[in-house]
């Protein structure tokens, strides 16, 4: 049956508006990619909108031969992979225990949990001093250990676990499974939606994080890609006072006050692309999982 005219008009207008909205969101990415693939000196003159005017991969070459950037990329990948796996695992395990109301430590755990949730953190300096006393400062583990347990993820997992039919778990116990076996072989496989959701959250958080690099590390070998990008982009906006040595080097053409636009855009692409590529694969789980996790347990 043909749709009424009003419906068809609505569809057209709706489609047009959503297309415009979508285009406004996609265009900045296209712009950044176009600049990154354009020759540096040509980019500095502007006028590149969607397609590169002088196509070149020079900016990417500069990035990938730069050992500092490669090292930063490896650190970012390592912390994302390891950090994500551990936070998902630890949060899930903690949440599972937290579903056992008959557990003798349940009430104290609940109290600590809520206190930590609402009053946790303590401020930058106490955290810094804690990390120092734990020997985490200026080590790779400062990216991993403090973030192994996230209380919000625990809430999400717990809510999801509590909605699973108890009979499935009990059937596993009847078959002789231990708590650990039941968790890994029954509960976790059934929790793919919420696990995927939290994997995405955790991966994005780990990948995008740079403040922990800023505050808790000092060694150049521990820099992450986001931190390097932040430095490079900040250099373009930094205060314009420079030293006499730098001024004289600039006058001689030995020092650029700012990295070429195309290199900055290339770094932006390299930094955001991994997460953008991962997201579509987890999207179907994400929507399901976030809805489930948001319900009261």
């Amino acid at each position: 049956m043909r749709k009424p005219l009003s419906d068809r008009v609505f569809d057209v207008v709706n489609g047009a508006l959503l297309t415009l909205l979508g285009a406004s969101m996609v265009y900045p990415f296209l712009y950044v990619i176009a600049i990154s693939l354009n020759e540096a000196s040509d980019s500095s003159q502007g006028g590149t909108w969607i397609l590169p005017r002088k196509l070149t991969f020079e900016s990417y070459k500069i990035i990938f031969v730069n050992n500092d950037l490669v090292s930063a990329a490896l650190v970012s990948v390592a912390r994302t992979v390891l950090g994500t796996v551990l936070v998902v695992l630890c949060s899930a395990m903690f949440a599972y225990v937290f579903t056992k109301q008959k557990y003798f430590l349940y009430k104290p755990m609940k109290l600590i949990f809520f206190v930590a949730m609402f009053l946790g953190g303590g401020g930058l300096i106490p955290v810094y001093m804690l990390f120092r006393s734990l020997g985490l400062l200026n080590t790779f583990w400062v990216y991993i250990i403090p973030w192994m347990l996230n209380l919000w993820y625990v809430v999400l997992f717990r809510t999801y676990f509590m909605r699973l039919p108890r009979e499935i778990e009990e059937a596993a116990f009847v078959d002789g499974a231990s708590e650990l076996t039941a968790f890994f072989k029954v509960i976790l496989p059934l929790s793919k939606p919420i696990a995927a959701t939290i994997t995405l959250f955790a991966a994005v958080a780990q990948w995008n994080s740079w403040r922990d690099t800023l505050f808790f590390t000092a060694s150049p070998s521990l820099r992450t890609l986001q931190y390097v990008m932040m430095e490079i982009l900040q250099r373009a906006e930094a205060e314009r006072m420079i030293t006499r040595a730098e001024m004289l080097d600039v006058a001689l053409g030995h020092l650029k006050l700012v990295d070429p636009m195309s290199v900055r855009m290339a770094i932006t692409v390299v930094t955001t692309l991994p997460i953008v590529l991962v997201y579509p694969f987890l999207q179907k789980h994400f929507i399901k999982g976030i809805l489930v996790g948001s319900m009261k347990g």
Binding site: S44, G47, R132, R235, I242, T243, H254
Partner: protein
């Protein structure tokens, strides 16, 4: 009895010799130090990209002195964390602002004066020399301690003169002006102005003539960016004969007695009425007051912008981009010295400026004497040349006249890779602490003054043409430097009424200037300006002015 006296005397001589050999009571010879490797951690906010420990120059310095530096770079926030947690590296290079003064009050810094006196007599002498302004006195605390060293100032010995002596009234200035000025595109300026632009009226005629020649939509007679307000303000004040310094905000004076917040100078309103007029006549880039610096540079790099009012930062970046494109490689932004309002003098730069960073040694440093001995080595010919020139045969050569020099190939390497110096470790220490200007043989300690750069091959070809033209600006700022140590290194404690006032006034300044530029009439410019000044007064900007003035006059009185 005689025998006893002789034995005693002999024993005494032996003891003295033994003690001398062990270095007790004297500084340790370099050859001894080099056998005892030590590593110092150094944290700096001064550079965002530090050389790696295996950078050739640093490696060579380690081989010669036994000192290795574990270099860490970071943000100013990290300094606050370190201070609060007392978790310090051995050496820190930090901004000379509120954070430094918190460190000075912490009691966690080493007094460098006795160490310099004992272990680095050359450094001590140069820092204390009247030729260099007696920096030991200037930067000592009230109780006579020297808790930090400064940078960005080339040190001289008695009888020496800087190759670019700022106080030389005949100075031919090679680098772009240090202060903010009006820049125009050359040789376009030659077509529309015929001679150097010397006042606002000529400037207006020139930009108007240029726009008439280039009526196209993407040709802009004048451009700016949204954060450029303070630069335009500085350019104006200088044009009207003010001496301009910046600490938090611009403080300006004409008579060195009364210092005012730059925005409150009576000439500011007429100046921004002029800029507004440029906008209303279509001569100012309509996007100027709202665009980013990147967008402004992009436009300037096309060669389709005639002028901007601002600083060397923008000029150098745009000039570099212009040179790289075939269509624009002959264009260059050059400064013009405008004088207005009957000003007898155009002031450029307070040559007493001793940088904006401080080098401190913390009490966590296990061997501060060793670090100070390293500074003494840095002040030796060997140290200076290694730090500022690099390694002979790789970073510089000895030319036919027996002088240190750069070859075209080395120059090209540096131009092609802006990280060359960082990768090699060149000038790392120059960015941290004052260094001498000359080695003991009278040659410049810095590669900047290599003979190559006096040849045509070492110069920007566009600048060669400018120098040969009526628009040669390199002589225009002769006599425009002054030297007043009292006007620099001021300190306003954070969270005081003065500090709050300047922070709020600076925020108002940024928006106000953009609003004045795009105002619909002169009357509106006046209204915007009056409201802004009233707001600033309401926030207590006069307290900031008073504090600045008090400090300057007190320092002047102390010196006399």
């Amino acid at each position: 009895m005689r025998r006893l006296t002789a034995v005693t005397a002999l024993l005494f001589v032996v003891a003295v010799l033994a003690l001398t050999a062990t270095g007790y009571g004297q500084s340790v010879p370099l050859s001894e130090d080099a056998k005892n490797p030590v590593t110092f951690t150094i944290f700096t906010t001064r550079v965002t990209t530090a050389p790696k420990p295996d950078a050739p120059v640093l490696k060579e310095a380690t081989r010669r002195t036994g000192v290795t530096f574990n270099i860490m770079t970071g943000d100013k926030e990290k300094l606050s964390i370190m201070l609060a947690s007392k978790d310090y590296p051995d050496v820190i290079v930090m901004p000379r602002d509120d954070i430094l003064y918190r460190y000075l009050r912490s009691g966690d810094l080493v007094d460098l004066k006795p160490l310099l006196q004992k272990h680095a007599p050359t450094v001590y002498k140069m820092f204390g020399s009247p030729v260099n302004g007696n920096l030991l006195d200037i930067f000592s605390t009230d109780d006579g301690k020297l808790l930090y060293l400064t940078e960005n100032y080339d040190m001289l010995r008695e009888g020496e003169r800087h190759p670019e002596d700022a106080m030389d009234p005949d100075r031919v200035q090679a680098e772009l002006p240090w202060h903010n000025v009006f820049y125009v595109l050359f040789p376009e300026a030659q077509d529309v102005a015929k001679k150097k632009i010397s006042n606002l009226s000529e400037y207006h005629d020139a930009v108007k003539a240029w726009k008439a020649k280039h009526p196209g939509q993407d040709y802009y007679a004048v451009t700016m960016e949204k954060g450029m307000g303070q630069e335009m303000l500085g350019s104006a004040l200088s044009m009207y004969g003010y001496k301009v310094n910046t600490y938090g905000g611009i403080y300006a004076t004409k008579d060195q007695k009364k210092y005012i917040y730059g925005f409150k100078a009576p000439e500011v309103l007429p100046f921004f009425k002029f800029v507004n007029k440029l906008y209303r006549e279509g001569l100012m880039d309509p996007e100027g007051p709202v665009q980013t610096w990147d967008q402004m540079i992009q436009k300037m790099s096309t060669g389709k912008v005639f002028s901007f009012i601002g600083g060397y930062y923008s000029a150098y970046t745009a000039n570099d981009n212009l040179l790289r494109a075939e269509a624009t490689k002959n264009l260059i932004y050059i400064p013009q010295k405008l004088v207005e309002g009957g000003a007898k003098q155009n002031w450029q730069y307070n040559a007493a400026y001793t940088g904006s960073a401080a080098l401190v040694v913390t009490k966590k440093c296990k061997d501060p004497a060793r670090f100070v001995r390293f500074l003494e080595w840095l002040y030796s010919d060997e140290g200076m040349v290694l730090d500022s020139w690099g390694i002979e045969g790789e970073d510089y050569i000895i030319n036919a006249q027996g002088k240190r020099d750069i070859t075209p190939e080395i120059d090209q390497k540096k131009k092609a890779d802006s990280m060359y110096n960082t990768k090699r470790g060149i000038k790392f220490f120059y960015r941290m602490v004052n260094m001498p200007t000359y080695t003991s043989d009278g040659q410049p300690a810095s590669a900047r003054y290599a003979p190559f750069y006096s040849t045509k091959a070492g110069q920007d070809p566009r600048d060669v043409k400018v120098t040969a033209s009526p628009f040669n600006w390199h002589l225009d700022w002769q006599g425009s430097f002054w030297k007043d140590y009292a006007e620099v290194d001021l300190f306003i404690e954070a969270e005081t009424p003065a500090a709050i006032a300047i922070a709020k006034s600076q925020a108002i300044l940024k928006d106000t200037i953009a609003q004045m530029v795009v105002a619909k009439s002169e009357a509106e410019v006046e209204e915007i300006y009056s409201k802004a000044v009233a707001k600033m007064e309401g926030y207590g900007i006069s307290a900031w002015e008073a504090e600045i003035q008090k400090q300057i006059l007190a320092k002047r009185a102390k010196k006399s």
